[in-house]
């Protein structure tokens, strides 16, 4: 029993980390430009496909391929905002058109990658060859540990960047008051591009990390995006902390629920949690943070 619980917890934290990474992207973009990027999940798919090309196609070692695939995904994200967001940046009430455009972009991206890579799913090897390792009598899938460790490192780096560097503070200043940031000389268009690059790069990383667990398909991003979106709402849709706690909560609930209650309702549990939150605590776990944004 206990061993099983530990195994489930590790699996839940790993899946939750994936949701957290994508949720972070939702939250960073939302707090910066007040837009929900509904194509956020597709960047997980894009990251995974870049990894497929680099590892299965070009036979590069994973430790080179992983950061490169992530950066490439971020570059696609920067391009994405250049097309979708920048043209209407200064227009009043641009939020709705931009959000609808991201929905369209999501469909478009999935179709493009389906065309390029075809409908047959790809299977990426795990970073460690072993299928499972035994630690203290508990069998653990090593990719889960990779996911948890890499996510922890990335979140730490992101936090350091946003809180300890001048560029990070300039990003925050832009999110808080864009016009005043411009008066200071902060190049707001660049800051927006950077936020999109970071957000989509993190989304790409989620896809890269989860690819060995699932398979890589053009539609893989949509399921992740839905649950990440739920995570962001549970976390309050306003803070980094919220996105992470929300992601881990959804990941754990889903994993425990699938085993202890019913496997066939695996995908339903996150939404039950979401609905409960929307009814009883619509501002999410750390909802008060949102009000600090001007």
């Amino acid at each position: 029993m206990f061993v099983e619980f530990i195994q489930l917890t590790i699996a839940g934290l790993a899946v939750g980390s994936i949701y957290a990474l994508v949720a972070l992207g939702f939250v960073l973009i939302y707090t910066s430009v007040n837009v929900v990027n509904f194509a956020q999940g597709d960047f997980a798919m894009i990251g995974a496909y870049f990894m497929v090309s680099l590892v299965l196609g070009a036979h590069w070692p994973w430790w080179v391929a992983l950061p490169l695939a992530m950066v490439l995904t971020g570059a696609v994200g920067a391009l994405f905002q250049l097309v979708l967001y920048q043209p209407v940046r200064n227009r009043p009430r641009n939020f709705l058109p931009v959000m609808i455009a991201t929905v369209g972009a999501s469909v478009f991206l999935e179709q493009v990658f389906l065309l390029i890579y075809g409908p047959v799913p790809f299977q990426l090897p795990g970073i460690f060859k072993a299928q499972s390792v035994k630690i203290d009598g508990v069998f653990v899938y090593p990719q889960y540990l990779v996911i948890i460790v890499v996510t922890s490192v990335m979140v730490t780096v992101l936090n350091w960047f946003l809180e300890r560097t001048k560029l990070g503070k300039q990003l925050q200043a832009t999110a808080q008051d864009a016009d005043t940031a411009r008066l200071m000389g902060i190049r707001v268009a660049r800051m927006t591009a950077l936020i999109f690059a970071i957000s989509t790069g993190l989304g790409g990383l989620a896809g890269i990390l989860i690819a060995p667990v699932y398979t890589v398909t053009a539609g893989m991003g949509s399921t992740i995006a839905l649950k990440a979106f739920a995570s962001a709402i549970v976390g309050g849709f306003g803070s980094i902390k919220g996105a992470i706690v929300g992601g881990l909560t959804i990941g754990l609930v889903e994993t425990y629920g699938a085993t202890y209650i019913s496997g066939s309702y695996r995908d339903a549990f996150p939404f039950i949690v979401l609905i409960l939150f929307l009814i009883f605590r619509p501002s999410g776990l750390f909802g008060e943070k949102v009000s600090q944004k001007v």
């Binding site: 001048k166 503070k169 300039q170 925050q172 200043a173 808080q176 016009d179 005043t180 008066l183």
Partner: protein, 242 residues
Amino acid sequence: MPNMLEVRNISARYGNVTALHDVSLTVGQGEIIVLLGVNGAGKSTTLKTISGLLHPVRGGITFEGEAIDRMSPESIVRRGIAHVPEGRHVFPGLTVRENLVMGTSNRKVTRAETESDIERILEIFPDLKRLYTQMGWSLSGGQQQMLAIGRGLMARPKLLMLDEPSLGLAPVIIKQVFRTIKSINEAGMTILLVEQNVGLSLKIAHRAYLLETGRMIRTDTADALREDDGFRNALLGVTADE
């Protein structure tokens, strides 16, 4: 005195609403110029057009001989115009220190330069010292105004534009703000001040302009306007019943 800033016959609008008609003004090196006018006269719009948040639909603006009316705010502040906006607009989620550091975003600075500039600002506004690590939102109106002016100075501007720095402050604090503006000017800073406090601003300014519904209707030296009871009463009459 050579003109540092020249605004020539500009018109500006928000959508279909024309807020400035044919407005001209000049600011010479070392001057304090005050731009007066009642609510909605177009004072803030004038500053926004100079700093690039808005582009004039007619007319031109030159700064040190260079046309700046098509430039972005990011470029204009790099050329040496700092605009401290109405309502202070301190970054609420950044500390006092971080707000000051943001002021240096218009140029490449070393860490040592930033530190020595912050030192200089804290000498001008000693009250900010004990608030150093507090968040912007937690400051009082007066403290936010000091921070906003300090942040503007962190840009090392050649021209400092202040939009209603006395707005919403207690009378003693207002006096203090005006004294500070005067002393910053005496240290060599050229200042374009937007104000509704006619008495105090005419005391510290060299020249004044008067805007009314988007038109420049009067300009003279501060000394002449101070003596002109008709001028003072016209403005004070309106500002008094606010």
